[in-house]
């Protein structure tokens, strides 16, 4: 299966097709890494009081900010990666994450299918 998020040329943002369902996963490298908060536009993707290692969202139209707050069992020394689950056992790296920068943000440009 193909990945839904595509890195925009000469940018750190991503493009995606509106309505596509995307699955993000937090991968552990040093210690455990989990996502405690995720805000896509105005939508909270992680229920209050919980932390998850994977989450789903549906791509909205326009340039929408995704904000993720990671928590690390190894605290500041923790390291991990944010990946997209592309299905069929394949993933793609979106961001390296580390305990010193627990907040990661990027834009997803939702476009209509061609």
């Amino acid at each position: 299966m193909a990945c839904h998020l595509r890195e925009r040329p000469h940018s750190t943002d991503f493009d995606a097709i509106v309505g596509d369902k995307v699955t993000l996963i937090a991968e552990d490298h040093i210690g455990n890494v989990m996502i405690a908060k995720a805000k896509y536009g105005d939508t909270d993707l992680v229920p209050d009081g919980t932390a998850v290692s994977r989450l789903d969202f549906t791509v909205a139209a326009g340039s929408v900010v995704m904000v993720l707050i990671f928590v690390f069992s190894a605290q500041e020394a923790g390291e991990g990666a944010l990946r997209e689950d592309c299905g069929g056992g394949s993933t793609q790296l979106l961001r390296d994450v580390s305990g010193d920068e627990p907040k990661v943000s990027f834009r997803i440009n939702g476009k209509a299918a061609a």
Binding site: A36, K39, I69, A74, E76, S98
Partner: protein, 537 residues
């Protein structure tokens, strides 16, 4: 109450020297520059460009951008140095947010309802009030403040009174780091105030002969010395084996991190900096300019750092014009990051504790008795996620022995041994909503306990027999004292209150030479929440 002593106490232990406004000191920018320097543009232009774009992506370096912006935006009208300004800022925030902090006495105190001193101490400060006494014969109501040295600086940092700094980052001015907190957390203190000393009361032996002399029973009352501090203690953890990698630890961490970090992560996600900045048309233009500037710096690291500094300064100048409340957002973000790191560290510390060996020194000043000091070793051994065993061994010596009692009393007052088995009823951990405990205590009374009495002011129902007229000191019996206790500690979820309810049976007390049943109730409160009122001015 003056704040100067607090500052004098806190500042020297939480300070770290060095350099706001220099991006290379912030971890993610340093890593980004490392990544850039590790790629050769001529051989692998794709990787170089990706590293450069990553370095200039605010979404990947928001905390460092906030640190940088806080340093640059900080006003310096008097031309003072950064350290001086930071100190003044901290002092001003503390002065402007007055609060007075207040946590039961250790084992064997005048009004202690516990027979075993616990290993871990409150993360910050706690206040407890308990009524009763287990091994002493004089009841009292004690209000105990407990805490460790890390409590104040971590609370100040959580509320953005003091900045938090990552261990790998040096900063100008005053900041609290994880390593400093971990050291301070090993040292704790406790002070108990006896709230009942103005209205002395006593329970005593009924009017049965103790000497067999057949003398007339004489009513006697204790006279309190109105010393309101009944106990002071200091404790240091010698050995605290931390386990932060085992499956058991990680399982506990995963189970609790969402709840524990909910407020801190909520505050962090709420502060919007990347969103509004990246929405500015000038942001993309800035990225292109900054790329050219850094590319021009070539392979010279110092030049790259300088170019990044200048580029960030440009970005700030632009953003300040376009987002008038940027300074406020930076302040909010600094506070949110401080709280995030402090809370994350406290969660790990609360879960990572394995066997703890501590030494505690207590000065006990019971009502109507001679002050004595206790030297106690405490061993706290978690057995399972929900069960732990705590053992204490202690000796107690009189601070001094009155001249009139010197012939009959030795300074080595008693030796104590106690154990407690705690089992959490919550499903996740011992920190769950309720804990049941079984405890045992043994005391070898090596020499008599001294009770000061006032024959001129007897209390009805309190009688001693065989006491000579005018006697001011009563010598209790030596021998063995043991007791057993069952306790239920209730901790309502979402509350900082803990309510211990216990029933204790003892073969005797120091004064009363007969078996005794007692029931106790107490309340403790975690006063860390007081610091939530401390807001950055």
């Amino acid at each position: 109450m003056t704040r100067v002593p607090i500052l004098a106490l806190v500042m020297p232990v939480v300070t770290a020297m060095c350099c706001f406004g220099q991006v290379e000191n912030c971890t993610s920018y340093r890593k980004g520059i490392d990544r850039l320097m590790a790629t050769d543009r001529s051989r692998d232009p794709t990787s170089y460009e990706a590293a450069l774009r990553g370095l200039l992506d605010l979404g990947q370096h928001e905390r460092c951008f906030v640190v940088y912006a806080a340093g640059v935006l900080s006003p310096d009208p008097a031309g003072k140095g950064v350290i001086e300004r930071e100190f003044e800022g901290v002092a001003r925030r503390i002065e402007a947010s007055r609060t007075d902090k207040q946590a039961g006495p250790g084992a064997g105190g005048t009004a202690s309802t516990s027979v075993v001193s616990q290993g871990p101490v409150a993360k910050g400060l706690s206040v407890a009030t308990e009524y009763g006494a287990l091994t002493r014969s004089v009841n009292g109501q004690a209000i105990t403040i407990r805490g460790n040295l890390a409590g104040v600086p971590s609370a100040l940092a959580r509320n953005n009174i003091l900045p938090y700094c990552l261990a790998t980052e040096r900063r100008n001015g005053y900041c609290v780091s994880k390593s400093v907190l971990n050291i301070l957390r090993r040292v704790s203190f406790g002070v108990s105030f006896d709230a009942s000393r103005d209205g002395q009361s006593i329970t005593g032996t009924p009017a049965t002969g103790t000497s067999g002399s057949g003398a007339t029973a004489q009513p006697v009352t204790f006279t309190g010395k109105k010393r309101e501090i009944s106990l002071v203690s200091a404790r240091i953890e010698f050995w605290n084996h931390r386990d932060v990698t085992s499956k058991a630890f990680l399982d506990k961490w995963k189970a609790q991190v969402g709840t524990w970090m909910n407020e801190a992560t909520g505050a962090l996600v709420k502060v919007q900096i990347y969103g509004p900045v990246s929405a500015l048309p000038e942001y993309e233009e800035w990225q292109k300019r900054a790329q050219r500037r850094i590319e021009a710096a070539g392979r010279d690291r110092a030049a790259v750092e300088k170019a990044l500094n200048e580029s960030l300064r440009d970005l700030l100048d632009t953003v300040k014009r376009k987002i008038p409340d940027l300074g406020e957002r930076v302040d909010q973000a600094t506070a949110a990051y401080n709280r995030f790191f402090i809370d994350q560290n406290e969660l790990v510390e609360s879960l990572a504790k394995q066997p703890v060996l501590a030494f505690e020194c207590t000065n006990n000043r019971p009502l109507g008795q001679e002050p004595a000091s206790t030297f106690r070793l405490i061993f706290d051994l978690p057995l399972t996620v929900q069960t732990r065993l705590v053992a204490n061994g202690a000796i107690e010596i009189y601070d001094s022995v009155p001249k009139e009692a010197a012939a009959a009393v030795k300074r080595f007052r008693d030796a104590q041994f106690a154990f407690e088995l705690d089992h959490g009823l919550g499903s996740a951990s011992i920190l769950g909503p309720a804990t049941v405990s079984l405890a045992g205590y043994y005391q070898r009374q090596n020499t008599a306990a001294l009770l000061q009495v006032n024959p001129a002011n007897p209390v009805s129902g309190i009688t001693f027999t065989g006491l000579p007229p005018g006697a001011k000191t009563v010598f209790t019996k030596t021998g063995n004292i043991w007791l057993a206790q069952a306790k239920l500690s209730l901790a309502p979820q979402g509350s900082s209150v803990k309510i211990p309810l216990s029933v204790t049976y003892s073969n005797r007390t120091e004064l009363i030479d007969k078996p005794t049943w007692r029931a106790q109730v107490g309340v403790s409160y975690d006063f860390d929440s007081l610091f939530s009122g401390l807001a950055k001015q």
